[in-house]
């Protein structure tokens, strides 16, 4: 009897305890289920999308930015700019009245001005800058890896609201580079104040920017809290608070979206998409990815030094079947190294059709009537441009088998895979790329340029003089229309020379709850909530 009463009491207490609506949020608070913790809160040090989403996107601005949803460059902290006729001097006119955030240790005494722009750059570029050596030996990932020191000669303040960047050579993609996260503008006054207080590292830990949201708090691996910045130069964001609920597991993220514990989730699993579409409480936004998945042939090795062989394997690969089986239709067949959403995409290029008979013919012409044996490396991980490397490799193996080419499938751990690919060990390998900015140069040069053979990013190790001249000329040509023509020609050469099999451009998805309004997917895979609102 006593036991029964006890059981009843416990059940009642539990029921009362559990009667909480898990999705109850403060009014105006948008919860975003993100995929991981940021590496830190400084946009210059890091290179992952997770960190950019949590740091540079909500809290900082750049001189120029990408118009959300496109790769068009629009004015941001710079109101306007001019480029010298030789393409080597960029003069930015800065916006007046832009306020920095404040926190318990720092109240800005002045608006944003040229000093902040010069400081932000010199911190990365100048070893003599007192703040150059960052917390715990941090390095400037993008700045170093993009070789910015070889591009920019100096950055000078002309007056309080004018800054001049002098380049070492004409570099048309420079403006797109300036819109990237690493080029976020820091507050010089904040760093100096923290330096004087003897805690210079605090400026990297508690971020101060000019962005739409101010930093509130961070609990490692749990939550990041922001509040709307009332004095944001573009106008206060519509939501009052933004919370990143860090949820590494994609299934848990989806469960939280369903229960209303979050409003928007990052990176859904492809297998859940169909169910998400059917869920009346959710909206599934989609956008063509700024990416490319491909097979690269190492042209320094036999038999891929022969163009006919490369063309033959292009003809022997059934891309439509791959798109269906691997991407489950969530992508489009790629015929160029750049995706169609990027300006200069050459739609006139004719792709190799799936034609095993013709492929066999070319192989015979190349001296391989009975085919050959070859190693094909496949991706060991899911990447935004390729959901399943192994499945893709198996399909390709079967396709090539039909023309007598026996592919031995091989892979390595992801970091090892990238490391080995740079040494040129590979014969044929699967790889891909997600664009960092909206400039075609960001695809052609790091992936197919001659310099990138040395750097290792060009895994086909293909260095074609004609192509190289075109992309270098395009990088030095100021007008976009003129550049586009050069890139269009470059795409014709890539198709003809066939250093790659261009496979697919994937589609990205952002699932959100119906009450989320005004959310727009970004072209470079960032998550912007400045113009997002919640239905009352």
């Amino acid at each position: 009897m006593i036991a029964k009463r006890l059981l009843c009491a416990v059940s009642a207490a539990l029921a009362a305890m559990l009667a909480i609506a898990p999705g109850a949020h403060a009014k105006g608070t948008l919860v975003y289920c993100s995929e991981g913790s940021p590496e830190g809160f400084q946009p210059q040090f890091f290179s992952t999308g997770t960190t950019f989403d949590a740091v540079s996107v909500p809290m900082f601005n750049r001189l120029v930015e990408f118009d959300t949803g496109t790769t068009n460059i629009v004015p941001a902290l710079a109101e306007s700019w001019t480029v010298s006729p030789d393409g080597k001097v960029y003069t930015f006119k800065l916006r007046k009245g832009v306020k920095f955030h404040g926190n318990a240790n720092f109240k800005p005494s002045r608006d944003f001005n040229a000093d902040d722009v010069v400081f932000s750059w010199s911190r990365m570029a100048d070893d003599a800058n007192p703040f150059h050596k960052g917390t715990g030996g941090q390095t400037y990932a993008y700045f170093d890896d993009m070789g910015m020191k070889n591009i920019v000669d100096k950055v000078e303040k002309i007056d309080d609201y004018t800054v001049r960047y002098s380049l070492k050579r004409p570099e048309a993609p420079f403006l797109a580079d300036m819109a990237m996260d690493f080029a976020s503008i820091l507050s010089k006054e904040y760093f100096e104040t923290m330096g004087r207080k003897g805690t210079p590292n605090a400026a990297d830990i508690y971020p101060i920017g000019t962005g739409p949201f101010e930093f509130v708090s961070y609990q490692k691996d749990a939550t990041i809290r922001y509040k709307a910045f009332d004095k944001y130069w573009k106008g206060r964001p519509k939501i009052d608070n933004l919370v990143f609920s860090i949820t590494r597991d994609a299934t848990a993220r989806y469960a939280k979206l369903q229960t209303g514990e979050c409003h928007v989730m990052a990176f859904p699993k492809p297998a859940d998409l169909e169910e998400m579409r059917k869920n009346p409480a959710l909206t599934l936004q989609q956008k063509e990815g700024l990416n490319i998945g491909y097979i690269a042939f190492n042209v320094e090795k036999k038999p891929f030094d022969n163009k006919l062989v490369r063309q033959a394997l292009n003809l022997a690969t059934n891309k439509e079947a791959i798109l269906k089986a691997v991407y489950q239709g969530q992508g489009q067949v790629a015929k160029n190294p750049i995706p169609p959403i990027l300006w200069s995409y050459n739609d006139a290029v004719k792709d190799y059709p799936y034609d095993p008979a013709k492929a066999k013919e070319l192989l015979t012409q190349a001296g391989y009537p009975n085919g050959f044996e070859v190693e094909l490396w496949y991706l060991p991980v899911t990447r935004p441009y390729n959901p399943d490397g192994k499945r893709m490799a198996e399909l390709i193996q079967a396709d090539w088998e039909k023309v007598g080419v026996k592919a031995k499938l091989l892979t390595y751990e992801w970091a090892e895979y990238r490391k080995r690919s740079k040494t040129g060990e590979q014969a044929a390998m699967m790889f891909g790329w997600s664009g960092d900015n909206g400039d075609p140069d960001n695809f052609f040069v790091p992936l197919l340029g001659c310099e990138a053979v040395k750097g290792g990013g060009n895994v086909a190790r293909w260095c074609n003089k004609q192509f190289e001249d075109l992309v270098i000329k395009a990088a030095q040509t100021p007008k976009q229309a003129d550049r586009a023509k050069l890139y269009e020609q470059a795409q014709v050469i890539v198709k003809e020379e066939a250093p790659w099999i261009t496979l697919a451009h994937s589609i990205r998805f952002d699932p959100l709850r119906k009450e989320v309004q005004g959310y727009k997917m970004d072209a470079t895979a960032h998550h912007y909530f400045t113009n997002t609102d919640l239905a009352k």
Partner: protein
């Protein structure tokens, strides 16, 4: 007793060498490279690569790296995370209370349910109750944690909507981490509803993590109880006319508990390793979640330091448990 503790403490030295060496070797045996990991498809500027390799000490021969690491540890420095550049010990101490809280409630759940279930199964041997307890505990023991956790989430959170999916507290409560124990911090904050929210967030992870220990405890209690119930002294106290309740709780259970306490002590290691999966699925910001991310990003200092600290804790708990034997049963002498 003191000699026993001293002997056990002396054993810590070879254990320490073993743990540091194994942790050091294992993380390096996994293919991959922490510096390469910091770059994506783009690759890394060779000068930056060199600088990082030097900075992380990875350009030195392995024996030198190990010697430097041990020296560092002996000075109380566990190094700095290669990803966040935060001191490893500081990261561990920030996250550890979350794991302790989860492990404590998982163990509490396991003991509170497992112990009575084992006793009932022993007393009602070969009845439906016995088969049910043993069947369920076998199922619990065999169930992969991640699968069990997902089932719990899908049923209780998504389907019934009773419990939150993951995290430690609802996002509307911005509870400052004073002690790191969410239940305590939520109570201290005085925010209405915060404590309730923290408890509701703890339920599913504690069940998921406590299920295997529960099964182990129930089975061990049952077999140990059965053994004790067959002892002569139990028959004697029964013959003296004591109530069944008194016989079981006062006389039999005390002796039956000895192996059970050993098993509970051993569960601590299991709970900490099980926490790795549970924390990942429930986005529980503890050391399990942190370690798994450390392995994925080849963050050598995090993995080495994390394993060393966890091993130290497990060793300490086992020492305490061994010492406790004497308290539970004075016949066991630590001579």
């Amino acid at each position: 007793m003191l000699a026993f503790v001293a002997r056990r403490l002396a054993l810590i030295i070879p254990t320490f060498v073993g743990v540091t060496l194994i942790a050091f070797a294992l993380i390096r045996l996994i293919p991959g490279d922490p510096v390469e990991n910091l770059s994506g498809e783009r690759g890394m500027d060779p000068a930056r690569r060199e600088r990082l390799l030097h900075e992380f000490g990875l350009d030195r021969p392995l024996p030198v790296q190990y010697a430097e690491y041990v020296g560092q540890v002996l000075r109380g420095d566990l190094g700095t995370s290669l990803t966040t550049h935060e001191p490893v010990l500081q990261e561990f101490l920030t996250l550890f209370p979350a794991t302790v809280e989860l492990a404590f409630f998982a163990l509490l759940f396991a003991v509170v349910v497992g112990l009575p279930a084992g006793i009932v199964a022993a007393l009602k041997r070969n009845t439906v109750a016995d088969y049910a307890v043993m069947g369920v505990s076998l199922a619990g023991y065999s169930m992969p944690i991640f699968w069990w956790a997902l089932l719990l989430i899908l049923f209780f959170s998504v389907h019934l909507g009773w419990t939150p999916v993951s995290g430690r507290i609802a996002v509307q409560f911005d509870v400052p981490a004073v002690t790191g124990f969410m239940l305590v911090d939520a109570l201290r904050s005085g925010e209405p509803g915060a404590f309730r929210s923290a408890v509701s967030h703890l339920i599913l992870p504690a069940i998921a993590l406590g299920t295997i220990p529960l099964a182990v405890i129930a089975r061990m209690t049952r077999s140990s109880m059965l053994e004790v119930l067959r002892e002569d002294y139990v028959r004697t106290v029964r013959a003296k006319g004591l109530s069944r309740w008194r016989v079981v709780v006062v006389h039999a259970l005390r002796n039956a508990l000895i192996p059970v306490i050993t098993v509970i002590g051993l569960q601590v290691g299991l709970l900490l390793s099980g926490a790795i999966l549970t924390e990942t699925i429930f986005s529980w910001p503890g050391i399990g979640n942190w370690l798994i991310h450390g392995v994925q990003s080849r963050d050598y200092p995090v993995v080495q330091g994390g394993i060393l600290l966890v091993a130290t804790i497990v060793i300490a708990v086992n020492l305490v448990v061994d010492t406790l034997y004497g308290v539970v049963n004075p016949r066991i002498r630590h001579g």
